[in-house]
Symmetry: D2
Subunit: 183 residues, 4 copies
């Protein structure tokens, strides 16, 4: 058994041989969703700081760990539209495409300069809505990321999470975009 | 919107235009499962009492209401193995088969004498285990029903519930059996 | 029973009393997803054409019908980030917000001029990826819409669909954005 | 990626940079359900044959492998009511309880003599109904098992399966009972 499971054994008075009920609840909670969002934000800052201190190879190694731990690429694909990608490589449904977006350095994705290498110092998520149903939880809202110069970039962001067999939330859908400015 | 939805609007300080998060959570809770089990038990006693007081047609009318409100036959089928059915009509995957089991009087199910008409005065459920995951909640344990003479009949019972669009739990699987006695 | 259910009764030779198996399969199919996407596109063009021919009130009446039939607002909220909304009304988690976006005319959403009233003549969806799992299906890709002047606007679009009790796919998440242009 | 995923890449004519759609479909199919049922039956016969040829320790080792591969005990609990268990140990929500039921030899379950050691030579499943929805598939029907003497024992059986991260169906609910005989 693992962290996936909220397992409760309730003592029931007077049940004779059936003295207790085992309760397993795998539902995704709002607290788990908020923690996963904070984890994504922290990972972005961590990769940026690692790049500053230790260079791209170290940042890349960390990004691989983050992608493997927080996204669901091992499920076959992730529906990932990063903020700054351009056609014909807008959608990053493969792990390689996600990695290239975050840390660059992949000649198969020549326009990628490494979004996570841009010196981010802070990242916060503010949900407009959270929807939990069936086997997934979805969120929509803003993420505010702060650069070295203190300037805050706000993006519109949608995530869908599922819980894997180990009880960990994984991103299976991620659409990020710059706000429409009306011009 | 309806009772399905635990809808919470959280005031978030300092979020400017994004002043609150709408949270919709459709996950099935253990409390909902226990309430549905109590509801099933109460319905069994109610049908019995209605039969005693008002006869089979009234009991049948109530049973139809109970089946339509608590089971999922409108979804196409229910996996229902009642306690006392015999081959070749053991499994009651249709509404008509369930109704015949509970109140009898259907020539298509000639061996049915009406399980819910047997004067039950009390019914209790004791779970060995409750498992909530994805879009369903399943339970396994005993149900103890008390007859007019005070004798308690214990059955082994498994239920699977899903939540319908109106937020109501519905039984989509129900396997009931007399305990094996070792002989 | 309704269109939700792929219900198959298989004749099994030699099974005696258990002569057939009822099969109910509520899984979302890729064909259903593609049909729902085509339906969304057609509705956009239909609202535009209705506006041209019959004016805003008629277009609004049609848009209400489309929203009520194709989105999941009755579930409590929809995670909807339309292409052209601006802060602080970027996210349209309510039915009123969606309607205002499509046909304007709502003083509570003063910047909305009616996206569906812009004379669209054609709409096509091209998926980068489709992911079906559990109780939902998600898609990510481009939607190309053609204006009166023949100019094609391409947007990056993510949808998540669930199947309601009547067997109809409903949009519960919709994130649309103009492509990042690199500038 | 693994066997879980029906992954299809569709060539789409004339889509320019978006030349293909990745389709991942994790829905449980009826064919997978039938294969899992055949697998359970085969495992029962295999354990019996292993016991005949190689004794209880070998049969136990195989049973452990079968339980770990086909049931979901690692998820926290399985709702398992075997055919022949008696109170107060009717329900086998733990791996140890399942193993004791199949091969005996566990002093914590003194009444277990090893259901899978009884010389079964054949096992067949005939469904009354199969219901696939959300993240699970459920079946209800008969299983017919043939003993050394050629005598066939028929049981009423309900299974609920979910798909694990590796794409394998696992039994999370199993209720088996001898048919009510009307006496």
């Amino acid at each position: 058994m693992n962290s996936r499971h909220i397992l409760v054994t309730l003592a029931l008075a007077g049940t004779g041989g059936l003295a207790s009920a085992t309760v397993v609840n795998q539902s995704i909670t709002e607290a788990e969703v908020l923690a996963a969002q904070r984890g994504w934000c922290q990972a972005l800052v961590d990769i940026s700081q690692t790049f500053e201190k230790s260079g791209q190879p170290a940042a890349k190694a960390l990004a691989e760990k983050v992608i493997d731990g927080a996204y669901g690429y091992q499920m076959g694909a992730v529906l990932f539209k990063p903020t700054l990608t351009v056609a014909p490589q807008t959608f990053r449904t493969t792990r390689a495409g996600a990695l290239a977006y975050f840390v660059g350095g992949d000649s198969n994705f020549p326009k990628d300069t490494g979004f996570a290498l841009k010196g981010w110092t802070k990242c916060e998520s503010k949900n407009a809505a959270v929807f939990i149903a069936g086997d997934s939880a979805s969120t929509m809202g803003n993420v505010m990321i702060t650069g070295k110069d203190g300037k805050v970039t706000t993006v519109d962001k949608t995530w869908k999470f599922v819980k894997d067999d180990a009880g960990k939330l994984r991103i299976v859908l991620h659409h990020s975009s710059l706000p429409f400015t009306g011009s």
